[in-house]
Amino acid sequence: MFEKCGWDGSRVATGARILGLAVLLLCGASTASAQSSLTATLDRSAIRQGERAVLSLTFSGKAPSTAPSIPPHPNLQFSFAGQQSAFHFENGRQSYTVTFNYYVAAGGPGDYVIPSIEQTVDGQTLSTQPLRLRVLKPDPRAADALSRLAFLRLTVPKTRIYLGEILPVEIQLFVQNAQNLQMPQLKGDGFTVGSIVKTGTSQAQVGQSAYQVVIFKTAVSGAKTGSLTLGPAECHLVLRIPSPRSARDPFGFFPNYELRPTQLVSEAETVEVLPLPEANRPPSFNGAVGDFSLAVNASPTNLMVGDPITLTLQIAGRGALDAVNLPPQNWPEFKLYQPTSKIEPADSTGASGVKSFEQAVAPLNADVKRVPAIAFSFFDPDQQTYRTIEHPPIPIQVRPNPTMATRPSALAPASESLESPAASDIVHIKPQLGAITGLHAPLIVRPWFIALQALPLAVWLSAVLWRKRQQHLARNPHLRRRLRVARLISEGLHDLRRSAAANQPEQFFAAVFRLLQEQLGERLDLPSSAITESVVDERLRGDGAPDLLVRDLHALFHLCNQARYAPQRSSQELMSIVPQVEATLKQLAMMKGKGNGR
């Protein structure tokens, strides 16, 4: 083919090979340049005896050519389930991962730890973090599960917690074929239940049936002590129940399943909520339960008396962060301002994260040398003891502020205070009643006040519109004339009726003549004084005016001429002419004019 185009086919092929090799080398180089890593994950953190979880070992970058072997475990059995590989392109970078999957089954119920797994790849040793797996007793409804298409399971890692401790809860939905799945609801009288989020799906085998497992997670904490019931969890969905193919539908045009809306209910769990111990409770404890770390930063550290230092405290870890409060501060040498706080959750359930406090503090005198140590106490439910972590004092340099009168330092020898003595009592009562204001809502919420504010705007907009119209008229003299003539005719018709009623034929016909001149002059764009009867034939007829109109105009002009010689007419006669004049003028006004003011 290339020869037909005049190209040397062999050279093209060689070039293509070189190009392909370069691409491969580039891919390999970019892949090789990526750092290798190994992560281990379990599809579920809790299973029933008889079920299997899936352990996935994911190699990123370099991977072994064969599946790694899992170190034997006395209570867990591992079997290889397959491998998969994938390329990922993210932010212009390419990565390659290989995942080896293993089924994990347990011999009996209990809490197990899958230890760290090590694998050496190309001289580099990669290792995973240990994983926890909880194996529960067999589901007593397991026999029914074979015939059930879906069921719901509530899993808690432990059933004894302390008041205020965060308890992660997992809701597992086992389903074969369903649709319109709604988020599950979890009942918990005496518990504070966090938001429920869907975290993933996996496959599971229960007996001879395969299920898709949808996993939801949330975090709860006990609001009161005692033996409390958590759950049950409820979930609404629509099951697709297979039905035998109908004889009337041998070719399967219609779906062979029926839809059945179903509400699944899990079992409830009894959780013992223990009170926090009274013994050894630190005085600085103010309610935090969990496992936390403390980081403190103060800036600036070189300042003048009265200048604010921004103190940032970050309390990070696992626990109910909204119950974490700023450690108490009794700092007489500082002026404390109101703190602000914000929470950044580390997971979707909010069971862990970072709570940051920001507070401004200002030294009150130049003798202050440090921001005092900050101690944060909390109850660690895993260790079942109170812990206090302390951040050491932060040295600062405080310079005198010449613009401020400093407060006497507590360290300085007692001396007379430069400030005026503090008030020793309240100011006495007022002798006069004063202005009685009564109670009223502020002006800004009263409807009449709000409506009143629209008035200046409305007036100004009206003025703008008026101005625009004036400018438009100023630019269009024909339009001005047309409006003026319309006004003249309206007034003129009134004059006609008045003249007719007063039996004043001279004024009557003079007005008729004048109105005809004005309207004809405006339509023909001629001076009104130059309009005579001859214009009707010379200009109007030629412009395509209807014959009827021309005839009416001639008739009116004729009447006006006649009136010069025979001015005697009765009032009724004059009044009978007015409609004719009005109709003729109206017809004239509707004609297409010569000027721009059409």
Partner: protein, 266 residues
């Protein structure tokens, strides 16, 4: 009597009737104000005699009958403080502050009482105090004046087709924007959901249940921000950004009706 006199008769009578009507209205108002002043005096005399609880009840009665003034709230606050009701006193002073934001006596007494309260109250900073130095109505009137002036000058300029008194137009425009921004900021800064502890001790818990663990304890006079309510419980935040739940009957709100209701219930 001639025709002109007869014609003037009905008009004259109407004028006299109108004058009598307004005289009656004025007299009634004057009488009401005398009654109010007398009641105020009586309450003040009770205070001077050291009968603080009775004085507080008398001021409460005045406020309940609609005789609302900054002085009434202020004196009521003094009487309540002297009677040992710090929380109610603070509410009364805050209501006085709403009517007279620049009254130095109100500020002084609030400062003094807040210094006595054990719990950290939210002390307004300099800028907050500066922005709240005018009441909402005062700001609204200033804004309206500037806005109407600006609107009038703009309308005149539009009608005449040329800018009229341009510096004044610009100045009134900027004043309108400035007062408008100040008004909006003032609306946001004012704590419209203030609550004060009015019992000697109020336990704040983690949850809205009596069985919930106690979080911290507040004392009479502690000023809080109300975040929400659930049944008989209120979700509150104190001056140290601590949040929790406290029984609603331990609190009173710095709103006139709620304040009077709380005084009656105690």
């Amino acid at each position: 009597m001639d025709d002109s006199s007869r014609a003037a008769g009905p008009g004259k009578r109407a004028n006299v009737a109108m004058f009598a009507f307004w005289l009656l209205v004025g007299a009634t108002s004057y009488a009401d104000s005398i009654d109010a002043s007398a009641a105020f005096e009586d309450a003040s005399q009770l205070y001077e005699r050291g009968q603080y609880a009775a004085a507080a009840a008398a001021y409460q009665k005045l406020l309940g009958s609609g005789i609302v003034s900054a002085s009434t709230y202020f004196n009521c606050g003094n009487a309540l403080f002297k009677a040992g009701e710090v929380g109610h006193a603070i509410i009364s002073y805050r209501l006085a502050e709403q009517l007279a934001p620049r009254d130095p006596d109100v500020q002084a007494n609030l400062r003094y009482i807040r210094g006595l309260v054990d719990d950290p109250n939210a002390q307004p900073g300099f800028w907050r105090r500066a922005l709240l130095i005018l009441s909402l109505d005062e700001l609204a009137l200033l804004f309206t004046t500037a806005y109407w002036t600006w609107g009038t000058l703009l309308t005149l300029a539009t009608v005449r087709g040329s800018p009229q008194r341009l510096p004044f137009t610009f100045a009134s425009g900027w004043l309108t924007l400035g007062f408008g921004a100040w008004l909006l900021t003032s609306v946001f800064l004012r704590d419209f959901r203030p609550a004060v502890v009015v019992v000697p001790e109020a336990v704040v818990r983690y949850g809205p249940l009596e069985e919930s663990q106690s979080h911290f304890t507040l004392h009479d006079g502690a000023e809080l921000t109300l975040l929400g309510t659930k049944n008989d419980w209120s979700h509150v935040q104190d001056g140290r950004a601590r949040t929790g739940w406290v029984r609603s009957d331990r609190l009173a709100s710095a709103v006139h009706d709620s304040f009077l209701s709380s005084l009656s219930d105690r």
